[in-house]
């Protein structure tokens, strides 16, 4: 069992005009077996939440706490967080020229497990993960994210989710820029992950479209750096019908 507990998290970024507060006290608890969707308009701080949990150096934590099974992850380095069981599927995965997908995956798997994967089963595992994401076998020989289409980048992120097998997955706008076929492939991948035991998913999205394929247990509306409302799947339906207007037009 894993529990990711975010309490009153406050985060700033440095701008030319000094520090700017983005997250203004976020509180959320995500446990194994649960899928939480965070929905909100652009600029509400959804991605900042994802990157702050993963430990991106651009974001300064000014208050609050984040723990994974009681361990303070804000004290951990980026790679320690990943080894503790966190995974962030990025909205804009980064190119690493000259490093093949195969080399990257093996290096990451070795780091996460603390030992090199067994060669025979590993090759099979990688090929299987690629095939399930409708990625060609030759994909492993390409440089990480270099020259990938938008869809390939996202499918590659989910193939990593499959192979690295974290406890808590944060998916940051994994649905953005996908056509309907790619969206189905990606959603199937996420759903297969959810079917494994004790997995927690935090799904960050701007659109309700992906929620037709990945049914969340909890939906949170994120506005202006905090959770404005939480509810069950019905909340997503309401958002689909009425949009975010009710929240963003609220009196200042």
């Amino acid at each position: 069992m894993s529990t990711l507990e975010i309490k009153d998290l406050q985060v700033s970024v440095t701008t030319d005009d000094g520090p700017k507060e983005i997250l203004k006290g976020v509180t959320l608890t995500i446990s194994s077996g649960e899928t939480h969707a965070i929905m909100g308009p652009n600029g509400s701080g959804k991605s900042t939440l994802a990157y702050s949990i993963a430990g991106h150096p651009k974001y300064q934590i000014t208050g609050g706490s984040v723990t994974l099974d009681g361990e303070d992850i804000l004290e951990m380095s980026v790679d320690e967080r990943a080894r503790a069981g966190l995974f962030l599927a990025m909205q804009y995965p980064v190119e690493v020229p000259g490093v093949s997908v195969a080399n990257f995956l093996r290096t990451a798997k070795t780091a996460i497990d603390g030992e090199a994967p067994k060669l025979r089963t590993w090759v099979k595992d990688v090929n299987g993960a690629m095939e399930r994401m409708s990625l060609d076998a030759s994909f492993s020989q390409r440089s990480v994210n270099e020259g990938f289409s938008g869809g390939e980048k996202k499918r590659h992120e989910i193939a990593q989710l499959d192979l690295l097998d974290p406890n808590v997955a944060i998916l940051d706008e994994t649905d953005s820029g996908l056509d309907i076929d790619a969206l189905k492939v990606v959603s199937d991948g996420v759903n297969r992950f959810r079917e494994r035991e004790n997995k927690a998913v935090l799904l960050i999205t701007h659109y309700t479209r992906i929620l037709r394929y990945i049914q969340p247990d909890h939906v949170h509306v994120f506005v202006d750096g905090r959770v404005a409302e939480s509810g069950g799947p019905a909340l997503a339906e309401e958002l689909e019908a009425n949009g975010y207007e009710k929240y963003v037009l609220a009196p200042r």
Binding site: G55, P97, A111
Partner: protein
């Protein structure tokens, strides 16, 4: 109006001349008085720490030599010729003092003759090694590659010496030539080298300069064309450690139409006083219509205390070309790349190692000489182990 037209005519007259002076490449000449001892303030010398040349530019005569070990595929011959014979073979004359000194002092040239239509899977390998930096060695080499020959030439420099050399590759029509010059010297070696390549009509030459060792290495690679359709790919990889000066100067002289040049040099620097210099220059002469050229230099600065100078130049005398461009970038590690790798559990050091590995891997693959690929990757790893990975 008259004045303007007159000046236009004089400009046109200059452009029509057979030889246009390139500001970075003094006119070629075998006459030493045309190449005075530099003070260090000259444009072409300003990056080079002249004192560390240990008197090479004085041009003392010397009988010291490097030890040669050769692997020569059948059909290729090696012989000794006079400097005059080397000229007659069509080598590119010296355009700076070290090359002129090398011709004057070497007492003749080594001719490597690759016959027309030669083909072999085996590379020609020349391993040149020196015993001591006290040795002053003058070198003069000419590679003559016959029409339609296909050959891979690997030159490896190890040990130590003060080595000043000029090397010409006279490449016949339609030939396919792969050249690797590896500078893997001991820490105190000084190497001044000029590789000049005359690319035959429709010939294709890929030249790679790879420099890891030496206290001071200053390499020129010059290309000109014997006719239309020639292609030159000039690749470079260098890794400067503490106190090392590594300088690569490129010159692609597009003196024929429909020719191509593509320059890619990548370097990494680590340690106090590591200094790299990359000067790229492309001259597109008036006659060189329809040519295509691109030059690129990228430097990765791994620690504090390093300096990377990178200057791309382009001199254009005709606009009737397919394309011309250049790029230069010098940077530290990209935080976003490291974050991405680390977010997958990879430690910071390991992430850095992967990024540098990838940075050079592309280029090593382009060099495409399988027999040395492994060795180059291993040397890059060994260089990284000195610094980036030492805390693991």
């Amino acid at each position: 109006m008259t004045v303007t037209e007159a000046s236009r005519e004089s400009v046109a007259a200059v452009l029509e001349q057979d030889r246009v002076e390139s500001h970075l490449n003094p006119p070629p000449s075998y006459d030493l008085t045309d190449h005075p001892v530099p003070t260090g303030r000259e444009e072409v010398w300003r990056f080079t720490p002249i004192k560390r040349l240990r008197g090479i530019l004085d041009g003392e005569s010397s009988a010291d030599a490097l030890t040669w070990q050769t692997e020569v595929p059948e059909g290729i011959t090696i012989s000794t010729i006079t400097a005059e014979e080397a000229r007659d073979l069509g080598e590119l004359p010296p355009n700076e003092r070290p090359a002129a000194l090398a011709v004057a002092n070497a007492g003749g040239a080594t001719l490597v003759d690759v016959p027309a239509e030669f083909a072999s899977d085996e590379p020609l390998v020349l391993r040149l090694s020196g015993d001591s930096v006290d040795d002053l060695v003058w070198g003069h080499l000419v590679f003559r590659v016959g029409n339609h020959a296909e050959v891979t030439i690997v030159l490896v420099h190890t040990g130590s010496a003060r080595y000043c050399t000029t090397t010409s590759y006279v490449v016949g029509d339609g030939a396919q030539v792969r050249i690797l010059s590896l500078q893997d010297w001991e820490d105190d070696a000084v190497h001044l080298g000029r590789d000049s390549i005359r690319v035959g009509r429709d010939a294709n030459v890929r030249h790679a300069a790879v420099t890891f060792g030496g206290d001071l290495v200053r390499m020129h690679t010059n290309v000109e064309y014997d006719g239309p359709g020639g292609e030159a790919e000039l690749l470079g990889l260098y890794f400067a450690d503490e106190g090392q000066h590594i300088e690569h100067r490129l010159f692609a002289d597009h003196n024929a139409p429909k020719t191509k040049s593509n320059v890619v040099y990548k370097g990494a620097l680590q340690g106090e006083g590591a200094h790299t210099v990359w000067i790229g220059n492309v001259l597109i002469r008036k006659v060189a219509e329809g040519i295509e050229t691109y030059e690129e230099n990228r430097n990765l600065v791994l620690t504090d205390g390093c300096q990377a100078d990178s200057v791309p130049n382009l001199e254009i005398e005709t606009g009737e070309i397919e394309g011309a461009g250049h790029a230069s970038a010098t940077a530290r590690f990209d935080d976003e790349q490291l974050f991405y790798l680390r977010s997958r559990g990879v430690s910071e050091k390991e992430a850095q190692r992967l990024v540098v590995h990838g940075f050079f891997n592309d280029l090593i693959r382009k060099i495409d000489i399988p027999s040395v690929e492994e060795q180059l990757l291993a040397t890059v790893e060994a260089e990284l182990a000195k610094n980036v990975l030492k805390e693991i």
